[in-house]
Every structure is written in structure tokens, then in C-alpha cells.
């Protein structure tokens, strides 16, 4: 039993599945942000945690970063480094949402664009979901064997 628990994280198919789940999730999450950077910028503003000068830069860069590391994970280009970035992003999301949950900060601009994006800025279920993704990300990061279906493992 113990050897089974140890062997699962080092199973190459499990690693591939984790990588693709993370990749597809991040493509999905980057999609609407790339289509509407202004809406994403407003969500960042709504967190109330970022200096005004940085809000637009974050809104411009983060979606592309998400998309590129997602593609890198799926095609297996520098997968270990790509998943490191994914893990840092997930950790950052978890910290940001936690801060707002703890201080009871809920941003509601009362406007249509944000309602329609269906974005729940701060909710416990989002944190749980992000922790699950983070667990997958850590598994991909700690995986030691040669990875399946990779264009470029490292280099």
C-alpha cells in the first residue's frame, strides 16, 4: 500500500494527465481574459490590493503568461519550469482570495460586464479548487522520470 502511494506520483501517465488537466484549465482561464483585458483589469482593481499603475500591466501580461505556460505543459516544452510558473500563479491566487475572504472584502461594481463574466472574486470553493490544481502542479514539478509526449523536456 505504501509503495503504491509512493509510485502513483511517479507514474508517467499520472504525470501526463496532471499536466494536461492544468494545461487545459489554464487555456480556458486565459481565454476570456485575453478577449476582455479591460474586464480583467477591473477584477484586479476590485481586489483592492494592487497599485493603480500596475493594474493594466498585470491585466496585459498574466493572461498571456497563463496561455503560454499552458501550451508548454500540453506540448511538453520545458514542463518543469512551466509548472513552476503555474504553481507560483496558483499560490498567488490562493493568497489573494484568502486575504479578501479574511478581511471580508467583496467588490461589486453593480455593472453588467462583471456580472456576465460570472466572476466570483472571493469564494472558499475557488480556494479549494486552486489547492487541487496546486497539488497536481506539485506532482508534475516533483516528477523525476522521463516525461511522456514531450517536445522538449528541458534545455
Amino acid at each position: 500500500m505504501q509503495s503504491l502511494l509512493k509510485s502513483i506520483p511517479q507514474n508517467s501517465w499520472v504525470e501526463l494527465a496532471s499536466r494536461w488537466i492544468l494545461g487545459l484549465t489554464f487555456i480556458y482561464s486565459s481565454y476570456s481574459k485575453i478577449l476582455s483585458p479591460a474586464g480583467f483589469a477591473k477584477i484586479i482593481y476590485g481586489y483592492g490590493l494592487f497599485p493603480a499603475k500596475l493594474i493594466n500591466l498585470i491585466a496585459i501580461i498574466v493572461p498571456s503568461l497563463e496561455l503560454l505556460v499552458a501550451l508548454a505543459l500540453i506540448f511538453g516544452i520545458y514542463p518543469r519550469s512551466a509548472v513552476l510558473i503555474v504553481n507560483v500563479l496558483l499560490a498567488a491566487f490562493i493568497i489573494l482570495i484568502s486575504i479578501n475572504l479574511i478581511r471580508g472584502h467583496e467588490f461589486n461594481c453593480g455593472c453588467f460586464a462583471l456580472q456576465n463574466s460570472g466572476n466570483q472574486v472571493s469564494s472558499p470553493s475557488t480556494i479549494i479548487r486552486d489547492f487541487i490544481y496546486l497539488a497536481l502542479g506539485i506532482q508534475v514539478f516533483l516528477y523525476k522520470q522521463p516525461r511522456r509526449w514531450c517536445v522538449r523536456q528541458s534545455g
Binding site: 476582455s36 483585458p37 482593481y45 498571456s64 520545458y78
Partner: protein, 170 residues
């Protein structure tokens, strides 16, 4: 060291891609937005931004003076639910999301030279600007935006109403 190189490649390419996409996308935004509510409505300054400074009324008391003149129509850009919970007394509910459905009725009711002031939920909301632009495109040239919205009006203690039925285009 190898990881550092890989990270630089991934992050470097992302940043380049980010600025290229933002430059060519019709939805691209400025490098620095306007996020100070004391300066007006917050906006990321999208390329086809609906925020038009020249339409803005940033003084609620001025809006109230126009209201008291009796000639100006206040138009509420928020959702019907928000309207039902409270709105400027006598305002017309024209949720910006329902504009295409409601505009024909609106055109029947009001002449194109009718002075109009749109409003929504204040300076973090751009729906009133969006609505003003749509109205102007339909020929309502005498349109302004009260940027402090319903919260600003309510805070001054001016007259409000709570029924959903009044002055809506049903």
C-alpha cells in the same frame, strides 16, 4: 541554472506575446489605466473606451438643479433588480443589456431633442457611459452622464423611489 534559463525563455516570450496581442487586439488597453475614483469613472482605457469626459456631470448638485428644472429625463442603466431596489424618482429604466429590445419603445416616447442624463452605480461602473453612447448613436444628442450614479444621488438625500413599475417600457 538550466531552470533559470527555461524560466527566462517562458516568461520573456509571454511578455512579448502579451504586448503584441495587446497592441493588435481591438480590445487592447492602455499601459496605465484610470483607477482613481476621485478623478472620475475608473477605466482600463480600452481602445474603444466608452468613457467620454465631455459628457460627464461630476457634481450631483448640478444634476439635481437640472432635475428640478423638470425638463430632463433621467435614464437608469442598471439592471431591473437594482432599479426595483431604488432609483431616482421619475427615472426611466433602460438596462444597457436590454437596449436593443427597449429602444423602439423609448424612441416612441421621447423626442430626439429630449435632454437626457444617464446614471448607474457610480464611479466604478461604466454602464451609464455605454448607455449614453448608444443613445447618442440613435440620435439623442442632448445626453449626459451623472457619474456618481444612484449611490451619489441617494447619499445627498434627493428624492428616490422603489417601485419597479414606474416609468419602465413594458
Amino acid at each position: 541554472m538550466k531552470t533559470l534559463k527555461e524560466l527566462s525563455v517562458l516568461i520573456g516570450l509571454s511578455v512579448i506575446a502579451a504586448f503584441v496581442i495587446n497592441f493588435f487586439s481591438p480590445k487592447g488597453i492602455a499601459l496605465v489605466g484610470q483607477w482613481d475614483t476621485s478623478q472620475g469613472v475608473v477605466t482600463a482605457k480600452e481602445k474603444n473606451d466608452v468613457i467620454m469626459d465631455e459628457l460627464e456631470i461630476d457634481d450631483v448638485t448640478y444634476a439635481k438643479a437640472l432635475y428640478d428644472s423638470g425638463n430632463v429625463l433621467f435614464v437608469d442603466a442598471r439592471s431591473r433588480e437594482d432599479f426595483a431596489e431604488g432609483h431616482i424618482k421619475g427615472a426611466f429604466s433602460l438596462p444597457v443589456a436590454e437596449f436593443d429590445v427597449q429602444i423602439d419603445k423609448f424612441l416612441e416616447l421621447y423626442e430626439l431633442d429630449k435632454p437626457i442624463i444617464t446614471y448607474c452605480s457610480g464611479r466604478t461602473c461604466e454602464d451609464s457611459h455605454h448607455l449614453a453612447q448608444l443613445l447618442i448613436n440613435r440620435g439623442y444628442q442632448n445626453t449626459s452622464v451623472m457619474i456618481d450614479g444612484f449611490p451619489g444621488w441617494e447619499a445627498e438625500g434627493y428624492s428616490i423611489a422603489k417601485s419597479a413599475e414606474e416609468h419602465t417600457a413594458k
